[in-house]
Symmetry: C2
Subunit: 346 residues, 2 copies
């Protein structure tokens, strides 16, 4: 059985191709008794020797002449090998949002004649960058330079917690370089609400990060002074933060604020290369549980490099946390989009 390409790349296979390839195995789009195949489907049928030729070409030659087909073929083949039926997304073939997905993958045992979609798969090479806006809800199939495929599932997570703490106001604190020290704060500041870090086991002094201090100063808990004794307050902390990190400080403070306002406790994620690790419910530092999320703060227009994404996701998996990106557009809490990414084995 042979196919012929049309000018749009679709391969028409005549006669009873529909029965043979669509009805029983979910390839292509019926055209009467004939069948239209996307190039990647034609390549797969050539590879399996179910088709003899397309435009007179065998598998190797066909794969060579269609631009960019090799990478999509690898993913399509892998999904088929795993027992999934999948349809290439082509204009007019599938009734679906224009999210740039390459394949619709049906649940095992289902196919294009059913009405259920398991995954919307985007195929990307490892050298590609993908804008954050493209990611939410789909699956990335990243083909690395050695043609191994990593599947990354993306979602809009619900980020909330149940941490509550009553703190007094007007606690004295000093801005010291790029951190803040509260010399004699109430014990609850650290022990209950998990702000800062004691300078020493035997010492009351608590060191706070600039984001912690700016948040607490804004909430009236801290009364921040500069070393000269000036009442700088929140503004002095924010100015120092911007000196240290530029715009990034505003984004991080917006994300920190949003997390605290949701009852989630963010602490530094430095050891994991992230901005924050988070605890959904803190009653006391003594009974601290496992932190659930790693949060990386990024500007809203960020384009993910696949290698960086793979690194973050792999690390988070290794320490049993969920990798969440907070895309903060203008430094306000309302402008934050949350994106969770995790490894998927389809």
């Amino acid at each position: 059985m042979e196919g012929q390409s049309r000018s749009d790349g679709v391969v028409r296979v005549p006669a009873n191709a529909r029965e043979r390839f669509y009805d029983s195995r979910g390839y292509g789009r019926p055209a009467g008794d004939a069948l239209d195949l996307a190039p990647v489907e034609a390549a797969h049928l050539l590879y399996r020797d179910d088709l003899e030729a397309v435009d007179g070409r065998g598998f190797r030659d066909y794969l060579s002449v269609v631009d960019g087909l090799a990478v999509r073929f690898l993913v399509y083949k892998d999904l088929r090998d795993r027992g999934f039926y999948c349809s290439p997304v082509r204009e007019g073939w599938t009734d679906s949002p224009d999210d740039g997905a390459d394949f619709l993958v049906y649940p095992r045992g289902k196919g294009p004649w059913d009405d259920v979609i398991e995954h919307r798969v985007h195929v990307v090479g490892e050298r590609a960058t993908v804008p954050a806006a493209r990611l939410a809800g789909g699956v990335l199939a990243v083909v690395d330079e050695e043609s191994e495929i990593t599947y990354l599932d993306t979602a809009r997570p619900t980020v909330d917690g149940a941490t509550e703490a009553d703190l007094p106001g007007g606690v004295d604190a000093t801005l010291l370089g790029d951190r803040v020290v509260a010399w004699d704060p109430p014990a609850a500041l650290y022990e209950r609400a998990f702000y800062g870090q004691p300078l020493d086991r035997d010492d009351d002094a608590v060191q706070l990060s600039l984001v912690e201090a700016a948040y607490l100063a804004g909430a009236g808990v801290l009364d921040v002074r500069t070393p000269d004794g000036d009442r700088g307050g929140r503004e002095a902390v924010v100015v120092r933060g911007r000196e240290a990190e530029g715009d990034r400080f505003d984004r991080r403070l917006a994300v920190y604020t949003s997390l605290r306002d949701r009852g989630v406790v963010p602490k530094t994620g430095f050891k994991f290369g992230a901005d924050f690790r988070t605890y959904a419910e803190v009653d006391s530092v003594e009974e601290l549980g496992h932190s659930e999320l790693l949060v990386r703060v990024l500007p809203a227009g960020h384009r993910f490099a696949m290698r960086d994404l793979a690194l973050d996701v792999r690390l988070a998996h290794g320490v049993r946390k969920r990798m969440v990106f907070a895309l903060a557009d203008d430094g306000t809490e309302s402008g934050i989009d949350w994106l969770a990414v995790e490894r998927l084995t389809p």
Copy 2:
């Protein structure tokens, strides 16, 4: 007991300070019976109430008025708390290379009167970037925004292996997009020498990355053609690599070549966010051991952001590999500097 600052910041403590603080506890630099202290030592003695004041100031005020002292104090205190004696590096105080180290740390039980140094410690804030050239051989004490300290030990590793394989020449291969396929290579190409990745278990075809293909074409093993059948050879692969990655391809190819020439097998490190994972000795793919190194390729002038470094080191640790950076200056194998970084608990 009180101290007085000189214009260079050194704090002179008179009378029998030498006996009390140097002879028995390793602080400062003797000046007859008196003692000269670096500001960080003075701060530590103030913190411990061993000194009452410096220039009439107590600990909190002294810490505030000396620029940048807070971060160095945190590291000095931490090292002292761990039982180490350490000397601040000051011109004329210690006879040591000008590598920008902040503290010399002596082995436990030793001090400045001995002649052995355990670590040369560089103190950096988490927001700092450090040029690669500054790193080799020292210990970084990275103070994160919440004042936790991560110690990273750096070294010039020996990178070598014992992989050997005899491969025939002139194996046909086709350049397909940003990868290369050898349709009917000798089995040894993959199974013995671990080049490429089979397209399928039941198929002879082996897919190769562009660096693998460029190396093999340069060694005369592969005969690479473009899809039109032109004999492109190594040059065609390199051109394609540069289209895909720019200069980075030349650096990666230089590192790949250097590793293979040392008997080390590099395979993609994509799943770990690195350039390569490496195997020091491959006899056959069937009996493949654990890969030992993760290699990230960087330009020679690279400045490490501490958060990125923490991420790489943490990930490598979690997968029981050694993190190695290959700093490649001009894309030649002779221009590569190797740098290993790992977490240290002093």
